[in-house]
Symmetry: D2
Subunit: 376 residues, 4 copies
C-alpha cells in the first residue's frame, strides 16, 4: 500500500534512504531450492555501480550485499530473503546546503507536500540509490528463472539525441554505454563531453528484450503483461515513456501493417501443444518463427505469445546539474540553485541493469501466477 512493494507472488519490498544506515530488499515468494549466494548478487550489483565511465558520479559505494535470511546452505528455503547493503560513502554534509531549497526536477517539493517532513540527504527515499535494492532483487529472480533459459538483455538506442543506426549486440557488450553502433558511440561520447563542460546533463533511449519467455504469461484486463511492464519500468525515476513492441509507431500504421501474421512454426506450436495438451502436426519443419513480424512485442491481449518480449524506455536527463537554475526556498522566496553534489551526467548506462531487473521481476511474478492456476 505504501508503494515500496512490487509483485503479487514473487514479491519484493525495497527499503532505505540514500544516506541512512543501509538499504535493502525483502524478497518473498521465491521458490525453495534455488542456488543463491552473495557472489551472485555482487555480480549483478557491480553492473550498476558508479565509476564505469564519463557519465558517472564520483560517490564510491562498494554495494556489498549481505543475505540476512531465507538462504540455508547456499539454497533458498522458501521464506523471506532479506538482502542488506550498508551505505558507506554517505557524505551528509554535501547536502546541508539543499536542506532548505527545492531542486528543480527533483522530489524535494513533492515529498514535503506529501509527508510534511523529508529526509533531504541525497534525495532520501527518492534517490537513485534505491535501485541497488531492485538490482539485487532482480538477481534473485534471474537465479530462479535460469532453469527456464529465459534471458533479458538491454541495448542503448540513443543518448542526447544521437541514435544508433545499427544494432550490433556483440559490439554493445564491449562498451560501457551498451551502444550497439561504433559510429554513434563516438558522437555520443563527444556529446557527453560537451554537455559535461556546460554543467548540464543528458537523457536517452533503451531497448529491453526478454527471450524464451513461455507463452501464456500475463493476466487479462488490468494485469496484462504489458501493463505490468509499463508500471515496472515507469516506476524507475528517470523513465518518462514506455513503448511495447512497435510502440509509438503503431499509431501511424494500418491494421494490416501492424498485425503480426501468424505462420506455422515448430517451436512456438510445440509450446502451445504442450500447454493445451493436444497433438498438433504442422506441415513444415523449416520455419523459424510463429509470427512473421513482432510489432506486438511478444504480447497479444496482455498475454505472452512465445515471441521475444520487447520494450523501450525514454529516459529524461539527470535533474541535478551544475548550471544555475531558478527555484524557491522553503519560505517561498526565489533563489538560484546549482547542484554541486556527486552526480551522473546521464542515467545510462547505470539504469540499464535496473531496467533488466524490473523485467526479471515482472516475468518471475507472472510465471508463478501462471503456475498457480494453470490447468495442468
Amino acid at each position: 500500500m505504501s508503494g515500496s512493494t512490487f509483485g503479487k507472488i514473487f514479491q519484493v519490498t525495497t527499503w532505505g534512504e540514500s544516506h541512512g544506515k543501509a538499504l535493502g530488499v525483502v524478497v518473498q515468494g521465491c521458490p525453495p531450492g534455488i542456488e543463491l549466494n552473495e557472489a551472485i548478487l555482487q555480480k549483478a550489483l557491480d553492473k550498476r555501480k558508479p565509476g564505469h565511465g564519463s557519465t558517472s558520479t564520483k560517490r564510491k559505494e562498494p554495494d556489498t550485499p549481505q543475505i540476512l535470511s531465507g538462504v540455508f546452505e547456499g539454497r533458498t528455503t522458501g521464506t523471506p530473503i532479506t538482502i542488506m547493503i550498508l551505505n558507506q560513502d554517505a557524505k551528509s554534509h554535501d547536502y546541508s546546503n539543499i536542506a532548505r531549497i527545492f531542486r528543480p526536477g527533483h522530489g524535494d517539493i513533492t515529498y514535503l507536500a506529501k509527508y510534511g517532513i523529508r529526509d533531504y540527504r541525497g534525495g532520501g527515499r527518492a534517490s537513485g540509490r534505491e535501485t541497488a535494492a531492485r538490482v539485487a532483487a532482480g538477481a534473485v529472480a534471474e537465479a530462479f528463472l535460469r532453469q527456464y533459459q529465459i534471458c533479458v538483455e538491454t541495448v542503448t538506442l540513443e543518448i542526447g539525441g544521437v541514435r544508433a543506426a545499427r544494432i550490433d549486440r556483440e559490439f554493445a557488450s564491449t562498451n560501457y554505454l551498451e551502444c550497439p553502433d561504433a559510429e554513434a558511440l563516438l558522437l555520443i561520447e563527444q556529446r557527453i563531453d560537451a554537455v559535461k563542460k556546460e554543467g548540464d546533463s543528458l537523457g536517452g533511449v533503451l531497448e529491453i528484450t526478454a527471450r524464451n519467455v513461455p507463452a501464456g504469461l500475463g493476466e487479462p484486463v488490468f494485469d496484462k503483461l504489458d501493463a505490468d511492464l509499463a508500471k515496472a519500468l515507469m516506476s524507475i525515476g528517470a523513465v518518462k515513456a514506455v513503448e511495447i513492441g512497435a510502440g509509438c509507431k503503431t499509431s501511424q500504421m494500418t491494421g494490416f501493417e501492424n498485425n503480426d501474421q501468424i505462420i506455422p512454426s515448430k517451436p512456438e506450436f510445440d509450446k502451445i501443444c504442450d500447454i493445451v495438451g493436444v497433438s498438433i502436426t504442422s506441415n513444415s519443419d523449416d520455419i523459424i518463427t510463429g509470427f512473421e513480424t513482432n510489432n506486438s512485442g511478444g504480447i497479444l491481449a496482455g498475454i505472452s505469445n512465445g515471441d521475444d518480449i520487447v520494450a523501450r524506455v525514454h529516459i529524461k536527463p539527470i535533474p541535478s546539474i551544475l548550471k544555475e537554475q531558478m527555484t524557491v526556498d522553503i519560505n517561498g522566496n526565489p533563489c538560484p540553485v546549482s547542484t554541486q553534489g556527486r552526480h551522473d551526467i546521464c542515467a545510462i548506462p547505470r539504469i540499464n541493469p535496473v531496467c533488466r531487473a524490473m523485467v526479471w521481476l515482472v516475468i518471475a511474478d507472472h510465471l508463478l501466477r501462471q503456475k498457480a492456476t494453470a490447468s495442468l
Copy 2:
C-alpha cells in the same frame, strides 16, 4: 491476482465476456454518502457507446447500467457497489467461423495457450466490451472526486498519422472525434474513408489532462503516480505506448531544458503551506504557476506537484479487418482470414472515455491512499 482487479483502496473488479449474459463491475472502497444513480452512469456510458460516427461498429448495445448493491436512497453506503450491464445484441453465430482459427493481432492464440480453453465469441474476456465496465466504474470515481473540483479531459492529437497542428479544446468538444484542429479533422475523415474502403483500420494518439489534482498524491518507489497511470492506460487493449509530460521528447533534452524551473506561486504554495502547516509569505501576488513549464506532466519523483497531470497514449489500429490476412487454424494448418464481424475502424473516439475512466480511477485510489496515512 487473476488480473481483473485494479486499485488498492478505491478498488474495481470488472467481470464478463463479450457474448455472455452480462458484464459489470464491483466497486469497493468508495466513501459513503456520495450521490449516485443510474442516470449518472448512463451519461458516462453513452460516450463510449458505438454508433457515433464513421469509425464505429454496427453492434447495437444500449449499455443500460443497473446498480445492484451499495447504494441506498441515492447515496453510496460504503459497501460494494455492483453495476451490471446486460448483453443484448450478442450475435454468437457471427463468430462461429473463427472458433477454430487464431485472428492476427488478437488474443485468440494467447488465451488458448494460457488457459487451454477459450470463449471465442467476440473475443470473450479480451473484447473491448469489457471497457464498458471500466467506464461505469470511472463514473463512480468521478462522482466521488467532484467535491475536489478535479476534472479529467482528453483530446485526440492524431489519427492515421494526421496530427493536429493546434489545440482548440472548444472545437474538440464539438466533434465526435475530439479533434482539436478543424483542418486536421478534414484530413482525418478523408483518411478514415479511404482506409475503410480498403477493409483496413487506423490508430492514433490521445492526450489526457487531469486538472486540480492536489499535490502529494502517488507513493514513492513502485506505486508512483506515473507508474500507476502507465499501468492503467497500458491495460487498455489498444494502447502500445504511454508518455508522461514531455515523455519521449525528454530523452533528447538536456537537464536544463527539461527541468521545470520553480517560481513563487500563490496557489501551489498555499496548498503546500496548508499541508505542511507553515505560514509562507511570497513576495509577489501576480504569478500564475509554481512551475515555469510542465515537462514533468505534474509529477515529480512519482508524486503530484499540484500542476496539471498530462499523459499521452499511442493507440494501435483495430486488429479486426476485412482485408485478408495469413494465419493458422487450431490444427496448425495455414489458412487465410478476413474478419467479417461488426468492428470499429479506429479505437478513437470510443477509447477516449475509457482512458479518462482509468485516470479517474488512479486519482481516486491515490487520493484515498494519501488520506489514509497523511499526517494531518
Copy 3:
C-alpha cells in the same frame, strides 16, 4: 481493502444487501476447465435455504443462482465467475419500524458510527443473507477441489447447552440439525420449542472436519492455515470463538499429553516422499496413521500435516428476538424493542454449509498458493 474480498489467489468478493435488488459473488483465480453449472450451485444453496425446520425464518427465498460470466460450455474459463441471486421475498416494510432504533446485538449502531449512513432494511450488508454468496463461492471451490478427493464435513456438537454425547456421523446426516446423537437431538428439539415460546433464541457449537488435505498447505508466520481458518470462520457473523484441534483443552494439557507422537505410516510418508523426492522404506505396513493422536487438528507450525483438519466454532444465539429489550433510538432516547421480523431461532443448521464453504475457500486458496511456489 473494504473487507468484502477473501483469499489471495482463489479470491472471492461478495456484494449485496439483504433487501437490495440482488446479491452475489465474483470468484477470481478459479483454474480453467472445471465443470460448473447452476445445478451444482443450487444444490449447495439449497442446504442453506430457510424453511427446513423449527429453527428457521419464514422468509421464502428460492436462492436461484445465475452464472453471469466465467463459464463457457459448462466449464470455467479462468476469468472471473460472477454468480447473482435475485432478492425476491424482500419485504422492506417489515423493517420500517427499526429504521430509527438500534437493535441490541446487531450492527445497526456500528454501521452508523462507521459510515454515517446505513441501509437499515433487514440488516443491509450485515444480514445473514450475504452468506448465500459465500455458499455459492464455496461450491465453486468444492468443484475445483473434487479432483483431490478432499471433503469437508460438519457436525453439530451442541445447541442451547445440550451436548451430543456420541458422534454418529451417519445419524447426523439424517436429521436437519446435523446432530450426531439421537438422544441429544430429542433434548435439543425440546429446548428449541421452549425457547421459541419465550420469544428468545439459542446458540451452539459446530465441528468442521476436512479430510484428504495434502500436507504442505499454509504459509509460515501470518498466513498459517489455522490463522486463515480462524479468520474465515470468525468472519461469519454469529461465530464468537474458534478452536483448532484440541483447541481450548490444549491450555490444560502438558506438552507430553498434547504433542501428537509421530509413528511410521505408509500413506503420510509416501506423500512426503513424493514431495521431497526421496525414497523412504518404512519397516511396517500395518500402521494406520502418521500421528498417534490429532490434537494439532492436522496443522503443525501453520502447515497441514496430512491428517484431518479439525476446527470448532462457537455460535452465539440469534440477536433478533421477540422478547422485549432495552435500547435507544437515533436521538439517544431510551426505548423498548421487540423484533417482529422473520428470523431464525438458531443459526444452526443454516450456518453449517456456510462454515463448510469458508473452509473450502481456505483450502482452495492455500492449495493454489502452494502450487505457485512449490519447488516441483
Copy 4:
C-alpha cells in the same frame, strides 16, 4: 502472498530465522511525523526477552533493535521503517542432533513437506524468535496510536489448569507471570516447578483488552475486526483457540442473555455524534457505559462499538520437552527424541507482549483503513 506480511495499510513484513544472521521487520504505511527511536523499541522488546523467571529459556539474546530506514531526526518519514535484530547467541551445534528427525508438535515435518528443504537450526523460520520482530512492529503501532489514548493490556487467566479466581490488574502488573490473583499465582508456581522436574511443559489462557478504541473500526463481511483479531492471534505459534467477548460461553446463552442492552451514554454517544455529525441530547449525564454488558467484546457485526475490545487466547504447552517421545527420522524409521535445547516451560509470560503487539497492529491498520474512506 508468502505469508510473512500482515495488514493492508499499516503493513508489517517480518523476516529471519532463529539461527540466521539477523531477523527483523519492515513496517510500511506508518504515518509520517511519529516520534520513534531505538529506546522505544528496546523497552517493548525487553518484555519479551527470556530470562525473567522460572518458565524461560536460558538463551541470552539482548534483542538490540537497529532502525535502518524510515526515521529521520527522531521522527518517521512515511517511508518503510526497517528494524533489524542481530542473532548473537545462536548456538547452531545445539541443533545438529535434530537435523535428521522430526520433533513432535513442531513444524519440522510440515516445513519439509512444504518446501523439500528446511533450516533445522532452532526451528528456523518457525521459531518463536520470529515474534521479536512482531513486538518491534507492535511498538511502532503503539507509538502511532498513542495520540488516540488507546491502550492494550493483557492478563494471565490460567496456567497449567490453575485459574485465577479474581482479576486484580494491579497485582498482575507486579508479577512476571501477569497473574491477577495472588493465591492462584502460588499454585501456578508450584505446578510449574513440578512439571519442570518431569521434563514436561505447560499451557495457559490469556485475556487481551484494548481500551479507547474508537467506534467504527473493522470492515463488513470478511475483514471484520474480530476476524482480523482471530487471524492475528491464531498466527502466533502456540495459540490454539481464540474467543471474542463472552466467546465460547455465548453458545450456551439465549439471545436475551447474550445481547448487550443499549443504554444512553454520554461518552459513546458523543463519539457517534461526532462521527455522524448529528447533535444528540441524551437525558442523563450520570450513565457510564453505552452497553449494559460487554458480551460482544466491543464488536458488533465486525465493527467496534466504542466499548473495550476483549479477546482470549488458549495457549498450548511448549512442544519441546526433555521427556522422551516417539518419532521417526527422515528415513521413516521410528526413534525416541528428548529435546535438550534451551526452551521455555510455558509460553506465558513471553507470549503476552506478542499478543499485545498483534492487537496493536490490527487496530493501527483498521484505524488507517477507516481514515481512508470515512466520509468526514
